[in-house]
Subunit: 225 residues, 2 copies
DNA sequence: GTCTATACTACGATAGAC
DNA sequence: GTCTATCGTAGTATAGAC
């Protein structure tokens, strides 16, 4: 905590960061095709051309935005399933996964929408010539999370804790259940009667998703609650 | 079956229908903003301007496409939950809902993606001045389906068949689980190792979603399978 | 690092001939 | 009912001055 190092360290976000933050919000709201760089530049407070000083193309901005989001979420999934948690029972890991996903998606209101779009939009781009370094990085993070889901379900079935479900179907079911809620926008808010991201709504979501997952998968005689 | 009436009745789709079909496929693939009328016209085999002879604007095409999709889905939900089914137990209706949703979404590969986009995209349009007749019709169909979900969950809790879950959370969970799977595209196909819409994959999905819903909601001592 | 100016393409939509 | 031609705007991206 030396004065020299901490001075202004969290201050003065660079133009680069401002562009990424702005694009994260706009891409989450309107998707890749729905956002123009004119709007981005206006919101950031720069000229349109200045954006190209910081990024080579709109695609590159998109993938850098997406990568940040995916890495934020992966941290929570890794904490729930990997490392020290790897030795826990599948049931306990399932509980942690439910809570961890909710925490990850509730952290930023943009995360769920961006993730959902990335999961189901084939490629947001007219024609992408070849995978870029950024797009491959995004694919890798996504794949590692999905693999972790699958391994958890397989473990639970192997240990006899879970019903004998289809692993791919259970994976898409859990992903859809987790992500859609926080991406559901106006619809979700009209259902819950308020913000999806209020502390109360998030706490309830954490309980609900965890118990939904557990009841759906864990054999009744193995349930611990 | 008089020769006069059946002659060519299913043949010769009008330009109007061709435009709607084409737009359904393209909007499902790329979203509203991601599709240009130039591409639509090319695919239909018309000039761009001819589209405006059949529809007043791109927005109008979008809502007519969406309304067709919503009504196709609503039919299945209504069969599962309404009419003769209304007197069945909540558990049996929940089973029917799971199967009905799968059947509805598996019917056309475009349905899930269009529905998912409609559910979470705030408004796909830059600025919509005021609700149109078409947009209000879409809202009405959507609302009636969501209400039916909520009533089913409430009924199940009231009768003691279901756990005491949060109705809004359970609604978004079920919607996300049902819709995301069939919208998950390449990701889902790599998980199941083939088409999401093959007879085998759909049959499995029907079983999996039904049992996922039942186990997640129905109290173990009330389960019937 | 930001600006103005510009290039070129595509957008949604309209007018009017046929 | 379809066409060509055109309008005005906005799209991504580049060049070059400051």
């Amino acid at each position: 905590m030396s004065p020299l190092q901490t001075r202004e360290t969290p201050q003065a976000p660079s133009s680069r960061d401002k562009i990424l933050d702005t694009c994260e919000a706009l891409f989450a709201r309107s998707g890749y095709a729905g956002v123009g760089l004119r709007e981005v530049a206006e919101e950031v407070g720069l000229g349109k051309s200045s954006l190209f000083h910081h990024f080579a193309s709109k695609q590159q901005i998109y993938y850098e935005v997406l990568l940040r989001v995916l890495e934020r979420i992966e941290v929570n999934v890794a904490v729930a399933l990997g490392g020290d948690a790897a030795s826990l029972s599948a049931t306990e890991r399932l509980r942690r996964l439910g809570r961890g996903l909710v925490d990850a998606l509730a952290e930023h209101p943009t995360s769920a929408r961006l993730l959902l779009r990335a999961l189901f939009e084939v490629e947001p781009f007219p024609h992408m010539d070849e995978p870029t370094a950024e797009s491959r990085a995004c694919d890798a993070v996504l794949e590692s999370m999905i693999d972790a889901f699958g391994r958890l379900v397989l473990d639970g079935i192997a240990s006899g804790e879970f019903r004998e479900v289809s692993v791919p179907d259970t994976t898409t079911t859990m992903m859809g259940a987790a992500v859609f809620h926080f991406a559901s926008g106006e619809l979700g808010e009209s259902l819950v009667g308020g913000s999806l991201y209020s502390a109360r709504a998030v706490a309830r979501r954490r309980r609900e998703l965890e118990s939904f997952f557990v009841h759906a998968l864990v054999r009744p005689d193995r349930a611990t609650d």
